[in-house]
């Protein structure tokens, strides 16, 4: 083992190791580095003491500050709720039908309702409520399946249509392919196609499908195809067709009906949100 000696050039000690005449300097870790290292360890210990760091088999020790991410969330929510409270109280203080008479409140409902609509409704009904031809109803016309008053819309959004919510709107169109012949169904379709045409008001009674319509369809869709909102039965005497207005599409719908389903939003949206949403939809153009 070689001797530890002082290096002439740097004035430092060597480690005493030597390889083929090359000697290794013993350079200590700088003081600033050691100090920073020790401070870091102390900071870590203080952090462990302040924040939730240790768990027993029973529970998590909360730490001196009592911080939790869910607690922070609750604080954020409380701040937001306090800021929104005056508006929400004003919104709930007036009857639903009169909310939009207050111009300020109308603007609040428009802004909040639009955000809620775009997140919850637009995927099916389209941004702006244009709907999806052959799939999801448009909401900006005056053709309502289950009613277009604000209270009707609140009810529809809250519980949905044909879903597992016990209060959802329920109805089912019978499968007429089982009970009517192809010829009869064709006749009914021909008759349905005349309903929108006022000029055929007198002549249509003579069509072969007239009696069939009266017996099978009028109960829900109305004598003149005006629709039945108790059953979500669409109006048939206008130019709006949810599943298509061609003869083939109507025959298909009579033979094996498609019926839309809408989710229940009762657990997702609170009372204020339901109001804002319903009034926004009501204001899209066709509200009653």
């Amino acid at each position: 083992m070689a001797q530890r000696e002082r290096d002439a050039l740097t004035g430092r000690l060597t480690t005493g190791h030597e390889w083929d005449g090359i000697k290794e300097l013993s350079t200590p870790i700088p003081t600033w580095w050691i100090t920073t290292f020790l401070i870091s360890i102390m900071v870590a210990l203080i952090y462990l003491w302040l924040m939730p760091s240790f768990a027993t088999t029973k529970s998590l020790e909360p730490g001196l500050l009592g911080w939790s991410s869910s607690g922070e969330l609750r604080e954020d929510q409380a701040i937001a709720a306090a800021a929104q409270a005056p508006w929400r109280q004003r919104l709930m203080a007036v009857p639903l039908e009169e909310v939009t008479k207050d111009e300020e409140l109308r603007r609040f409902v428009q802004a909040g309702g639009r955000a809620l609509f775009n997140e919850n409704c637009a995927p099916c009904h389209g941004v702006g409520g244009g709907g999806q031809q052959g799939q999801f109803p448009a909401l900006l016309d005056d053709d309502w399946l289950w009613g277009g008053k604000p209270a009707d819309i609140v009810q529809t959004v809250r519980h949905g249509i044909r879903n597992e919510d016990a209060d959802s709107r329920q109805s089912a169109m019978p499968v007429f392919g089982d009970s009517l012949s192809k010829e009869q169904i064709g006749n009914v379709a021909d008759y349905v196609l005349t309903l929108a045409d006022k000029s055929k008001a007198d002549s249509r009674a003579a069509l072969p499908g007239a009696a069939l319509f009266k017996d099978n369809c009028a109960g829900c869709h109305g004598e003149n195809g005006e629709g039945g909102r108790d059953f979500g039965a669409p109006r048939l005497n206008d130019a709006i067709w949810l599943y298509g207005g061609s003869r083939d599409a109507i025959i298909h719908q009579i033979t094996s009906p498609r019926m839309g389903s809408m989710p229940s939003f009762a657990s997702r949206l609170n009372e204020e949100s339901l109001r804002m949403l319903a009034l926004y939809v009501h204001g899209l153009g066709g509200g009653e």
């Binding site: 088999t57 969330l73 929510q77 995927p123 099916c124 799939q135 999801f136 879903n163 997702r268």
Partner: protein, 239 residues
């Protein structure tokens, strides 16, 4: 530092001390794992996935949905406002592997269940832009043409049981029938007893087939719906 030199020059002393240091590190990391099951608080309503949902989950994994969709609502106000209650540990307790994801190119799906109708999911998976014009999601129409591999279901459930999902012998034995019942909505009493809140129905519009589309939609429709968050006990801080 003479002490250090002493340790370094004695092979047996160095080995013993190295072993001691590594043991401390090892114990601190390993011992808590013996009690890992106590770290997930049990929550009412959680159940293993039904066979059809589990197969849908496999398709979700296979197609890489988790690359663009997270399944983890963080406890921030903006996320809770948009997606619902933040995700809790128990909701992933039967996920092997979990599909929390780390990137949101599309929205979070942790609570997408029952947010849209089955018809919407079908239209959206067949052609995303038909319902969401700005979407950049690829179409998955092909799933509708692929029959679900029903025969492999019991093996999947058995494998999951080995890693801790409590499927019973009955559940494994009835798995194929349960999958068929859920995808048809017919004869579902047994299914619903074994898997409460399972969504029933012909998801893909083809009543006579059980396709991968059926399985995927059944899975999406159950996401985040099993725990009832109106139960105040779930939020220990909100007393």
């Amino acid at each position: 530092m003479p002490n250090h030199a002493t340790i370094e020059r004695s092979l047996s002393l160095l080995s013993m001390l190295a072993l001691l240091v590594i043991s401390i590190g090892g114990l601190v990391e390993i011992v808590p794992l013996f009690r890992i099951e106590t770290t997930v608080e049990k929550v009412a309503g959680m159940r293993p996935y039904s066979p059809l949902e589990q197969m849908g989950r496999n398709i979700y994994t296979r197609e890489g949905c988790y690359l663009c969709h997270s399944q983890q609502i963080r406890p921030f106000r903006d996320e809770v406002d948009r997606y619902g209650h933040y995700s809790i540990a128990a909701e992933s307790m039967y996920d092997h592997p979990f599909l929390w994801g780390s990137k949101r190119t599309g929205p979070d799906l942790a609570r997408v269940g029952l947010k849209y109708s089955n018809a919407w999911h079908l239209a959206h998976l067949e052609d995303p832009r038909s319902v969401v014009p700005v979407s950049i999601m690829p179409a998955y129409a092909e799933l509708k043409n692929r029959d679900l591999d029903l025969t492999s279901i019991p093996d999947h459930l058995t494998a999951l049981r080995k890693v801790g999902v409590p499927y019973t012998d009955t559940q494994i034995k009835t798995a194929i029938d349960d999958a068929k019942a859920q995808a048809s909505g017919v004869d579902t009493d047994g299914l619903l007893a074994r898997y409460p809140k399972a969504r029933l129905g012909d998801f893909d519009g083809q009543p006579n087939r059980v396709t991968e589309m059926d399985a995927l939609i059944a899975y999406l429709q159950v996401l985040g719906t099993l725990v009832d968050f109106r139960d105040a006990r779930l939020d220990p801080g909100a007393k």
